[in-house]
Symmetry: C2
Subunit: 347 residues, 2 copies
């Protein structure tokens, strides 16, 4: 189903959208702004949470504690993953507009790609996302990739909580599709949508190790224009593969869906499958179990990183650590000798 060209919808700009340069506010200001889905205050809150300045950290913690202590209906957390170049940003724009046309709202948390090589093209995406970001039902936020584990930062978790408190119906986390970020995202969402290229069915290894098995829904995007035929063929290839991938959620069969982000096609089917998954997995307790497991794993991983960060904050330790890894890289130190040096460092 087509919902028209998203770019034409630009006139529908949220009146709440305005430039703000105000100083630090109190907790109530942020909480009420978030609850109103005010895009400016949502943005301010997330920026505040990214800050490392002590006074801001105090306020940020208070906001987070209030949010965590205020029970809100659970919202579906949707991961959108896939290799670079499959059109994830355009796809998410179209998804956000489609959801909006159904009278519902979406928050899109994009992992900031600033530290990757593909800077240029993704900056283009960001501009596009910024435009749609002014639409009232669709809030877009690029997350910084600082202090990340496999591309998913502490900040992404916080942004997620803020958006749940705001009451967005769907919260999407988008990766740039590099490194381990897809697997990390899959470990933080309720449902994971893997977006692939027409023609990618010929080389699953190229899609990256373990990624196929994180998918709850597989999308073959760019099913438009000259690629329509190839997209259809690719869908058949994936359908023949996924029949072997039995899902952990009983009775769930991974669907393979054709979409065109550019032409906003295929989103009715996407929503049907998302809702079907949501109902099936909520009823069986699958999501609440999954979230508890994810939470513990997240804490353990972040705990390790926090510990390392604390340790390497000491310049002496950092210098020594880099010396050791350099020697491993150039082959002059065996990893097992390296560990002994490292243990000596711990004392």
């Amino acid at each position: 189903m087509s919902i028209g060209n998203p770019l034409i919808r630009l006139k529908n700009i949220n009146p709440k959208y305005q430039v703000s340069q105000k100083p630090l506010k109190d907790v109530a200001y942020y909480l009420s702004g978030i609850a109103e889905k005010n895009h400016v205050i949502l943005g301010e809150t997330i920026t505040l949470m990214e800050s490392t300045s002590p006074s801001k950290v105090v306020v940020a913690r208070k906001i987070l504690n209030s949010i965590i202590e205020t029970p809100r209906p659970e919202r579906l957390r949707i991961g959108v993953t896939g290799p670079p170049g499959v059109g994830k940003s355009t796809w998410l724009n179209a998804f956000g507009y489609f959801v909006s046309s159904q009278g519902k709202s979406t928050a899109i948390l994009a992992i900031d790609p600033s530290s990757t090589n593909s800077k240029g093209s993704i900056l283009g995406d960001k501009t596009r996302m910024d435009i749609i970001g002014r639409h009232s039902d669709v809030f877009i936020r690029p997350s910084p990739s600082g202090s990340v584990l496999g591309g998913i930062s502490r900040n992404t978790m916080e942004s997620l909580l803020v958006c749940e408190y705001a009451g967005f119906d769907y919260i999407c986390i988008e990766t740039v599709g590099v490194g381990q970020s897809e697997i990390a995202v899959a470990e933080q969402v309720d449902i994971n949508i893997l977006i692939l290229q027409p023609g990618s069915g010929d080389d699953i290894q190229g899609i990256k190790r373990g990624i196929m098995e994180t998918a709850d829904i597989i999308v073959v995007n760019k099913a438009d224009g000259a690629l329509t035929g190839l997209a259809d063929q690719t869908r058949y290839q994936f359908q023949s593969i996924i029949k072997y991938l039995h899902h952990q959620l009983p009775h769930w069969e991974i669907p393979v869906i054709l979409t065109s982000g550019l032409q906003s096609k295929g989103f009715t089917e996407i929503m049907e499958q998302i809702n079907k998954f949501s109902i099936l997995s909520s009823a069986s307790g699958y999501i609440s179990e999954k979230r508890k497991d994810q939470g513990l794993k997240w804490f353990e991983q972040q705990g390790l990183l926090a510990l390392q960060h604390h340790f390497l904050n000491n310049p002496k330790n950092k210098t020594k650590y880099l010396e050791i890894t350099d020697k491993i890289k150039d082959g002059t130190l065996h990893p097992i000798q390296a560990i002994d040096l490292y243990l000596d460092l711990l004392g």
Copy 2:
């Protein structure tokens, strides 16, 4: 090809095999014993390296340093992974005998299963392995699962170095097929053999996330008796799946091989494929690159664990850490609040 019933070959027992209860020896004793492939001294060395007593640690480090500083021809490191119950121990026994019948030697490092639930049946395997362990060309060593990362301990790395120094032609690392151990093993070997059950082609998800993609060779074992037909069918299923799994090593097509560990069938083909992989991957520099990457990754992971171990060695920290994780598990503490408590602990 069949090489006869391994149990009949028991008479071929290594005269070097004898019980030894001697106290701590000097470095030269261990080094010369290892170089002679003396099973008793190999076992003593590995036990010494597992010790945490300070005087033994000093000797162990000296041995390891001598080994690392003495260049030896590289030996192929073979991972043998797969779910519990596929007959890995029997398969490895048959593999060891086959290699021996070709005039070559094998070391088998089994990850000790003592901490898993499947204790009973695997103890049976251990007894069987202990019998073959007396055969001169096949050295078997169960590794302790203490201080492990995903089932692969520091000790496994040390045992691997000892066996390379001893000059075994093939060094196999076997997992029990639980948790993340298969992926951890795949990250420490040159070639990974995934052993599967007849009938398992119907449920790849049941095989575990990401495992399929760690395989360099896929084996359908138990291709004997009543399972012969099903095994053949399963092989076809995997062949249709793996054509989509393009391997990182150029020109390598993942073979799917039928074997019977019990009847020692299929090992000629296994050896042909192992040798083919070895030649192809050595020539292209694939193995040396892979080992360097693996070494760095191993150090980084072990470094994190060492740091955590050091931190939790403080009883106050340990109590607090367990308090936090318990609260996450019972849902009374949000992971993000848990991290804040943890950061407070670091100071």
